[in-house]
């Protein structure tokens, strides 16, 4: 299983925001644009609720904000890259977050949801790969790297 199964070129962007809230808002807007079936307000609320339970900054520069929503039939992902790092993400290992994968799935999609989360983590667990992606200057370049693995 690779991220190529879930990613399309427009679903990767170089982040402008500097804070956790700004970055999440940016990615929620992108998800709303890429997936017309997803209500931005509902997604925003679900992501905020999940973050309130425990930060999704999972360490090693990665964050995987995620939520399950009614009406979503396929798992989906958008990726944001921050060269300078996102401030205040409260990562598990205390390090700055540079790659953010926002994952959305349907309420009943227990298995595909966890499979996509696992795929995202497995793809980015190699520090060299992670660094190459952070160094990308364009979204298309990052997309090509993410879907090659």
């Amino acid at each position: 299983m690779s991220l190529a199964n879930y990613l399309k070129p427009g679903q990767v962007k170089i982040l402008v925001g500097k804070t956790k809230a700004e970055v999440l808002e940016e990615l929620i807007a992108l998800a709303g644009k890429c997936f017309p079936g997803v209500d931005r307000d509902v997604l925003s609320e679900a992501i905020a609720h999940r973050e309130s339970l425990m930060s999704t900054g999972i360490g090693q520069g990665l964050a995987v904000p995620h939520a399950r929503l009614d009406g979503v039939t396929e798992p989906m992902v958008v990726v944001g890259i921050s060269k300078g790092g996102v401030a205040g993400y409260e990562s598990l290992d205390g390090s700055g977050v540079h790659v953010v994968l926002l994952i959305v799935a349907g309420k009943g999609q227990h298995e595909p949801y966890l499979r996509l989360l696992a795929t995202a983590v497995n793809v980015l667990k190699d520090p060299a790969v992670r660094q190459d992606i952070i160094n990308c200057s364009a979204a298309e370049q990052a997309y090509a790297m993410l879907t090659r693995m």
């Binding site: 999940r50 309130s52 339970l53 425990m54 999704t56 999972i58 360490g59 995987v64 995620h66 598990l92 309420k107 009943g108 227990h110 298995e111 966890l114 499979r115 989360l117 696992a118 795929t119 983590v121 497995n122 667990k125």
Partner: protein, 572 residues
């Protein structure tokens, strides 16, 4: 135009079916009303019979009752068969002597008290000693019979089990035999006294022996054959057609051969249950499930048949003496018989109360007497017995209920299905079942799972509302990537609850839903509107709880036997 009397539309089946429909439909409604009033359902059936029968609206008249006779024979056969099913050989081994002693005492008690009482009344009114002695003997013999149908229907309705129940099952069926024997002797003596005799004493006795022993032989032989057939022919419906067909054959043979059909059917049931206890268990269940409408029809027609005409004042006294004498004789005889047999205290105290019902055999013997002693004697016997039956049929079942309640035997003979039917979800919900808040980290989830044996763990939000469930199978997905469990929480690994059930819903509904969806559990919520978690029900835990309850009740039923005679009590 069709009317209820079949004779008016010869050859048409509608009237009989209309009577059957009326009886079963309104009988069932009547029973439900009486059950709500906590009165045994059999009284409801009989009251509906009274309303639609000869004493009431007259919708079911004499001809209609006659047309129902085959159904009634069949009902008596079913009742006899099911009573036979209760007579396992270990019951006889355990209580055989007690059965004999109590049966003899209660039957003879009624015979003596009624015989003397009615004899005295007739002597005082008529001034004829020989007539008084003859009628006293006949009344005494007739009064010794007990109606098994109305009595055991109460035991079945209230799921009774215990030593008193066992005694009632055996004795109410067997005392028909005693009544027939007493009647044989009494009628022969009466014929000699009154000079109306046509047959010898030996001939009368031979006939009774044939009726009873012939029925036993018929029942036992047919029991062996039915057992063979059930072993050889496997049927998907549990053998319903085979068993019902065979029972109808046996009942029909008993009638054709002039044998006692209840005894024949009882011998059939007893033979079957003793030859193959396990296989026959399903046979009895099949007949039980089929029997309810037949019972309803039978009891409604019992009520419809009862008639209270305008009697002269002295006849009312005779009815009163007969009824009170029978009650006192049965109760006193049962008490002394139970003491003689060293029966359990509950049998000594309450057995007599279970013997008041009087119906088919008594009325049948009264009719027999009226045809044998034509004229005044016959008329007095018929009127007295039917009028007293009217009262006894209404009084008997509530007394049986009172007796088994006082003996603590109500509700002890239950199955898993009975317990499911009488409970709601709240009675079995596991409120201590572990659940997780949606933000619970995986480390804590693993710890709780390792320490508990649940198969499902509900997940709730901060308001305790159910949001999903964690299952062991679902949890496996969280091992897909290394270290995932460090940053996942309960809401990430939960699945949607496949279904939920409200706390106040019937347990039967919960079990049906789990069965339909092949679920092993259901999360329980406060109500359909209030989704706060109340707990979980798991099929295996519910079944374990119900098994424990059945075992507890069966032990309680065994305890009703009390200490064995001669046992050392209170060794401290």
């Amino acid at each position: 135009m069709y009317t209820l009397a079949a004779t008016e539309v010869d050859g048409a089946h509608l009237p009989v079916l209309l009577v059957v429909g009326l009886a079963i439909f309104f009988g069932t409604i009547g029973a439900k009303i009486f059950q709500r009033l906590r009165i045994p359902q059999v009284v409801g059936y009989i009251c509906i019979g009274l309303i639609v029968g000869r004493s009431g609206l007259g919708l079911i008249d004499a001809q209609a009752i006659k047309n129902l006779a085959p159904f009634n024979f069949f009902a008596l056969g079913v009742i006899g068969f099911l009573i036979g099913g209760e007579l396992h050989r270990d019951v006889f081994r355990k209580f055989g002597t007690q059965f004999f002693k109590i049966l003899l005492a209660e039957g003879m008690g009624a015979f003596v008290v009624v015989g003397v009482g009615t004899g005295v009344v007739i002597w005082l009114v008529q001034g004829d000693v020989s007539m008084a002695v003859a009628m006293g003997l006949l009344f005494g013999a007739i009064s010794s019979a007990t109606a098994p149908a109305a009595t055991v229907d109460v035991l079945w309705e209230y799921k009774a089990m215990g030593v008193l129940t066992t005694m009632v099952f055996a004795i109410v069926a067997l005392d028909d035999g005693l009544a027939l024997a007493l009647y044989g002797i009494a009628s022969s003596v009466a014929e000699n006294i009154t000079g109306t005799g046509t047959g010898s004493f030996l001939r009368t006795f031979g006939k009774i022996a044939y009726e009873l022993l012939g029925a036993v032989v018929l029942g036992v032989v047919s029991g062996f054959i039915l057992n063979f057939l059930l072993r050889k022919i496997r049927q998907e419906d549990g053998g319903l057609g085979l068993i019902i067909g065979w029972m109808a054959l046996v009942i029909g043979c008993a009638l054709a051969l002039g044998m006692d059909l209840i005894v024949a059917a009882m011998a059939l049931g007893a033979t079957l249950t003793n030859l193959a206890p396990r296989r026959s268990h399903s046979a009895f269940s099949v007949v039980e499930s089929f029997a309810t409408p037949i019972y309803v029809l039978f009891f409604v027609s019992v009520g419809a048949r009862l008639s209270v005409g305008s009697l002269p004042a002295w006849m009312w006294i005779l009815v009163l003496v007969y009824s009170i004498g029978r009650t006192v004789g049965k109760m006193g005889g049962a008490y002394f018989g139970a003491r003689w047999a060293k029966a359990a205290p509950s049998v000594r105290k309450y057995f007599g109360l279970c013997l008041f019902s009087q119906a088919g055999v008594s009325v049948g013997l009264a009719i027999l007497a009226s045809s044998r002693f034509e004229g005044e004697i016959g008329n007095i016997i018929i009127l007295t017995v039917t009028t007293s039956t009217f009262a006894m049929q209404l009084l008997g079942p509530p007394c049986v209920k009172y007796a088994i309640r006082k003996a603590g035997e109500i509700g002890l003979n239950v199955t898993e299905a009975d317990l499911i039917k009488e409970r709601d979800v709240a009675a079995v919900v596991d409120r201590e079942s572990p659940s997780f808040n949606e933000g619970t980290p995986m480390k804590e989830i693993f710890r709780v799972i390792a320490e508990t044996d649940a198969t499902v763990y509900p997940v709730v939000d901060n308001e305790k509302r159910l949001v999903g469930v964690i299952t062991l199978a679902g949890l496996k997905q969280s091992f897909r990537a290394e270290g995932m469990s460090q940053w996942l929480v309960a809401i990430d690994v939960m699945e949607l609850a496949p279904d939920t059930i409200a706390e106040k819903a019937p347990l039967a509904e919960a079990m049906a839903r789990m069965s339909e969806q092949s679920l092993e559990y259901l999360p329980v919520v406060e109500s359909e509107q209030d989704l706060r978690l109340a707990g979980v029900i798991e099929v295996r835990k519910v079944k374990r709880l119900l098994s424990q309850e059945i075992l507890r009740r069966h032990r309680a039923a065994e305890e009703t036997e009390g200490p064995a005679p001669g046992a050392i009590v209170g060794q401290g």
